[in-house]
Symmetry: D2
Subunit: 307 residues, 4 copies
């Protein structure tokens, strides 16, 4: 049952060098730099996003993800979710409004897979970037790079997928939209949706906790995936794989790495999901096709290179 979580609100990514990272996220992926803060973090967003920011880059000694946060519909829903998390046994930390510029109070808790998750209800709304509020044009004319439209989801690796299923479906009100099952019925991958997207967050089983696989950004169409691939080549950006299609979600995609080794995805298309839809199941025997629909085999790098 949906409980008011609407969408991925922001992700904080650790990078080894902020200016190098901006060449990747701003100049190549085409996110908009919107602000910086006292501790040196840089805030960005995709141009279609109404809220002030969705990506926060923090300079650190190691790459990876600090946390990913979901926006809930209002403070009442946030209070209910906080109580539900406490009832479920989560250790919840309150982060005061303003710790991230323009963002209201956040509640933070750990997923069974070890990842830091957050919920929040309020963030400054600056509107779609480059467009007027009234009679808005179709798109702003001064976009750069891949012209990514929004932060869409992230994929995380960790050990306790069953724990995450309980947390996300029973406590947070997400649906289990897709899953990969081994022959014994154990979950090898779980894709959660709080919307009509095929995934708002996904986890793949992995012995280590709290690993970051990729942050994903939405493109308009398959032609833009080709353009992204061309830009990856022109900028000598390390490519992981693509252009290709996923079996899971059927999105059309390309993966590549930021200068710190964090993986990025830009993608388009794919399936939609409604809360009454049955979970889509893939078998581990078809894992190659589930991940990369065209090659039908996984490149080792995709499974093992994590930050």
């Amino acid at each position: 049952m949906r409980k008011g979580v609407m969408r991925p609100g922001h992700i904080q990514i650790r990078v080894l060098d902020i200016e190098e990272a901006l060449k990747h996220y701003r100049d190549l992926i085409g996110l908009i730099e919107v602000d910086r803060d006292d501790v040196g973090r840089v805030y960005l967003k995709g141009w279609t996003e109404v809220d002030k920011f969705s990506i926060v880059l923090r300079e650190a000694d190691e790459p990876g993800m600090d946390f990913v946060s979901y926006k809930v519909i209002d403070n009442a829903a946030l209070d209910r979710l906080e109580q539900d998390l406490r009832d479920y046994g989560a250790e919840v930390t309150e982060i005061p409004a303003g710790e991230l510029k323009g963002c209201g109070r956040r509640i933070r808790f750990k997923a069974p897979t070890g990842h830091n998750l957050e919920l929040f209800a309020e963030k400054e709304q600056t509107g779609k970037w480059g467009l007027t509020d009234r009679n808005p044009e179709a798109w702003p004319r001064n976009l750069t790079g891949m012209r990514a439209t929004r932060f869409d989801h992230c994929l995380l690796y960790g050990d306790d997928l069953e724990g995450n299923v309980k947390l996300f479906t029973e406590v947070l009100g997400f649906d289990l939209a897709e899953q990969v099952l081994d022959p014994e019925g154990n979950k090898a991958a779980v894709f959660f949706s709080c919307s009509s997207k095929a995934h708002d967050v996904a986890f793949i089983g992995h012995p280590e906790k709290d690993k970051f696989h990729h942050a994903s950004f939405w493109l308009d169409n398959w032609q833009d995936v080709l353009r992204a691939a061309d830009l990856i080549s022109m900028t000598d950006t390390p490519l992981d794989i693509g252009p290709t299609r996923h079996g899971l979600t059927h999105g059309q995609t390309i993966y590549f790495f930021d200068p710190s080794g964090n993986r990025s995805e830009v993608f388009c298309g794919g399936d939609y999901h409604y809360p009454d839809h049955p979970t889509v199941t893939w078998d581990t025997g078809e894992l190659g096709k589930a991940i990369f629909y065209h090659t039908r085999e996984i490149n080792e790098r995709f499974l093992t290179v994590l930050t």
Copy 2:
């Protein structure tokens, strides 16, 4: 506040000749014929739809729309919405399960614009057409015509838009995603969303009640809109306008007519909507651009040809 309405579930369209209509909806638009009933109605769906059907064609002396129905998440939500409708003053009729084959009980009520609306919570789920449940392929190989993927929304014309805003936002839990305002601030068009789509139903102001403008079906991409346009020409189907883009929602679209004179749309792309997004406003002074983004003028036919 969302109240459990998920999506357009089905629309019943009156056609003058069922077999002629099937050439349009099944062979040209590419919907799947899934069933027929004792009273001669034909049931169809788009291939991505999990529920058994979404389009019902009924032979009649006059074209138009009998009703459009929205699926709610469960019976509890349906009961609550029924009570809310009665509290609001709507005259609610119960239509028993089975009146449409495979569909549970529906509650029917009239919109202030005169249209018959319905809610229901249960419909037989036959799964995506042509795909296996486990390890599903990207699309089925034996689609025809425009290969429309789903019934997406309808646009209706009627007189009391303010009444509809109250009904849809306060009683049914939709958002007013987009609107057109005249210089005095009166609503000339209202677009409602119960999802992250830019519209799940829309109304344009018109002196007469209960008029049907079009039913709309989703295509994957702009290349498919071109393919649809080509098929319209090859089959000598009356074209209204397109391929073009809307200002409102920014979708990419083409309009054409079924043999009974009902307008159809196939479209792709466009904006997304979340419940915390401010309503997007267009001014009637920009109505041409709001409706047809490229020509920036309305063809008279679009405003006046209704069924």
Copy 3:
């Protein structure tokens, strides 16, 4: 029989105001400004063109086309063609090398439809714009507007189509790739190719001599035609028609006007032609579909607004 004419080399267009025209051809269509000359003419090209320029804008009191020039493979072929033109009875004028900066000697003659045509064999080759000669990237990253790739062809209106057929096929070695015939077998439109393109120049029958209908620029794909349409709207550029498809050549297209009233086209796709292909024939009874494949009717403006 082919006689060494390779392609449209350049077109000189009259505009009422050079700087206004540059907003159209350079900033909107995305041609590259490459030079200006002593008499105030501005030279442009599409980024894929190897030769120095293909569009020349000349400020004048009236819009229209001064001339269109075709590049032949070498000076020997140019000499042979000059002799063939004289034998045919054309009045040939020699224009010395350098009259257009970077262009070798041109020979000029009048078509039976009254248009000034030219042939030349030499032009400075500056290479594809924005790319290295060796190991070239797929495209340059700093293109603007519609990113038109090349000057592709022009469409001209005039009175003596049979005369043009004789000139183009018998003297200049073009093929009659496509034609429109009236019920008596008279030519209403003729499309000539000197390559494997469906047209390198086209003429439509019209009582007045020497009229200019449009200059056409090549786009990569249908997605770029949508982008062009969006830019036309965003810049409040007068639209003629499109996005749509032609029946003749089957190209995908959009038409719009420069600030002086000259019509521009950007298009993609369509048929290819080889010298052994039979002429493709359309009937005037199908003229609507031949011109605009989707609407199947001609807008009056397309037939009557000329410069």
Copy 4:
């Protein structure tokens, strides 16, 4: 200097089992089966091809290419080319009209790389498949599979590239459109054009003579390349690589194998070539990028799996 060779006319491919091969070339790639002959060969073509056939499948014990043939503009040009070939020292064999059904006399000779090449001037013209001659629609509605539009070119491996350059440019009148050079200036790959295509045939240096790398078929657009990739997966067809883009020619492509182990390509887009264009040069140090623009590395299979 062009000498009247127009385009690839047909290729004869050896397959281990004709019916299995037809599932690949006809049902998957979407070529049209047009005829069979007394010796069991099957004739196919792409739907846009005006000539009767372009692909001939012959059942044999080993896969590979028997020969590839180019159509010249007329018999006079064929006679001149035959004489030029004899003057150059080629051993020319005449194959009488009718040996391939509907094809006129062919002259056969060996390339320095060991491949059997042919020229011919006449072939029965059956017109574009599925379209009327007059007022033709944009495309036929009953295409299957990838809907490949034509046989475009082939890539061959062999030892004497310099010899082939002499043969193709000096004797046959092709241009050297693109090449790959090693640091000493030796040719590692040569791409020849007899049209405005970036390649009508290509050769890669290899110690063994007469090897076949792939036959290539044209698709309309990048969306169709995705569709081809999806069909490859759905039919469990062995994939080589793609969807991706080439550096050489910049075409967008996917490679896969027929049931006999012959490689097929479907592709779209890419550069155009005119006879006055300088040869585009890639360095072997950039060979990865030259072949696969996105990964910038060659998969071993692409270089070593030949038939």
